[in-house]
Amino acid sequence: MQSRPRICAAVGVLGAALLLGGCAPDSSGTRIEPKLEEISEIRKVGLYVEVQRGFAVRLQYFSNADRGWLEQMLVGSLGRFLGSALYGGVFGVLAEYSPDRDATVRLKPQGAPVDNEEAIGSALLDMFRTAHVFPAGELIQSESLALARERGNDALFVFAIRRWGLRPPLGTKYETGDKALAQLELNVHLKLVSSATWKVLWERDEPYVDSECYSLGDFKSQEGLLARRMKHALQHVCDWTASEIHITPYRQETMP
């Protein structure tokens, strides 16, 4: 009889663990719709760029579909099943898709011109100027709204790169070495905050996958290719930003 509460507790813990671990999805897209009326009043913006995770090549991808059926059954599925059971599901996942540290180190020097906040910030300010996104802007070194206001900025534009690097192209199988195909990917968090009211005027998570596909060997051998693709990606994000915050139909939806 005493074992009944214990069983109930065990079932409860199991249920809670499954719920906590299995759910909680996270998606990209618009978090806060642009408040166009307030955005149109911005005369000068402070741009803060943050690279949260540096350049990484995420090409170490192994699929059981690439293995023979016997190996797939024995080594792949059964091995991973046992591996998952023993190591909390992490074993199987890490074995599949993890950063290729060798390739990252080899390509790092090529990414250097665009792998720092200042270079990205300067490129973005030029793009904003050309696309007439904001009348004026300056690069600032801190996310502090008070500092942005002190320097005469009406708003702070946060451009946080959550991840950037190379990934396998959509739907392709991984090939080893320099033949491996790769596309540039960029995940950016964009946030525009009023420095006067501290109100978020627009917030969005933007995933970008380059339309061009190259081999890893191309990125190694062609000097400046990675930097060119990164600038191309930044230009896209800049153009989309201009479209999102400068076109008026949202006004009707965002107005109370």
Partner: protein, 243 residues
């Protein structure tokens, strides 16, 4: 004898239950993709126009059989081919039409009526990809199309060609929160993407595609031009007297 029987039954049941996990139970996953237009319409600030919309499938042949694969990520095996119940070009056509109509514009199929402007959409990518990322599964829906609209002036007409692309990232969380002992087994059984996840990702990519299409400055110029021509045509056309 009894123990031997129990062991035999256990092994048989385990093997049978492992087969679907190992990918032998692979099947086709049918997604019902749809788009709900925005409340007021993304192009509702422009004067009403009559437009003709054409969507053609220009994807490579090998991509037309399915829009991706569903992976059982912990095992790495492919569980099934992901397909759309309605053809992809029709899904895109219906979505764009719904948003344009919500914005107050009239959309005609090609060859139906006399629209002032024809918007040609050539679909070049419609894909969902699943990759393991850290301890999660990352689903990426991607749609890309080349769009052709008339541009220039009445005296100097030209064609405007631009690319509309969208990506939608949906991360299905799997790992770290679970206790190791429980997480191992639950991870093994649960770490696969469900049909609901795939559907959400592709519908998200579709919504982003429509949004980007409507916000594209060249498309908006084409709608403005169509509205002007629609106005000119209607003023030129003699009024039909009621009998």
């Amino acid at each position: 004898m009894k123990l031997k029987r129990v062991i035999t039954e256990f092994v048989a049941v385990s093997t049978i239950s492992l087969l679907p996990c190992a990918g032998c139970g692979s099947k086709q996953v049918n997604l019902a993709l749809d788009y709900g237009p925005t409340k007021t319409g993304l192009l509702s600030d422009l004067k009403p126009a009559v437009l003709s919309l054409r969507v053609a499938d220009h994807r490579p042949k090998e991509q037309r059989n399915g829009i991706g694969v569903q992976r059982n990520t912990t095992f790495g095996t492919e569980r099934g081919v992901v397909v759309s119940k309605t053809s992809e070009s029709q899904v895109v056509y219906n979505s764009l039409k719904a948003e344009l109509e919500r914005s107050g514009h009239r959309v005609l199929e090609s060859g139906q009526g006399d629209a002032a402007t024809t918007i040609d959409v050539a679909l070049t990518q419609f894909f969902i990809d699943s990759k393991a990322a850290d301890s999660d599964i990352e689903l990426l829906g991607s749609i890309r199309a080349e769009v052709m609209t008339p541009a220039g002036t009445a005296d100097m007409p030209s064609i405007s060609l631009f690319v509309v692309e969208s990506a939608y990232l949906h991360r299905v969380r799997m790992g770290w929160v679970r206790p190791v002992a429980l997480g191992g087994l639950s991870g093994a059984f649960l770490s696969k993407t469900s049909k609901r996840d795939l559907q959400k990702t592709m519908n998200g990519a579709l919504a982003e595609f429509v949004r980007r299409f409507c916000l594209e400055p060249k498309l908006r110029q084409a709608v403005v031009r169509a509205a002007q021509e629609t106005g000119t045509q209607s003023s030129e056309r003699p009024a039909i007297k009621s009998q």
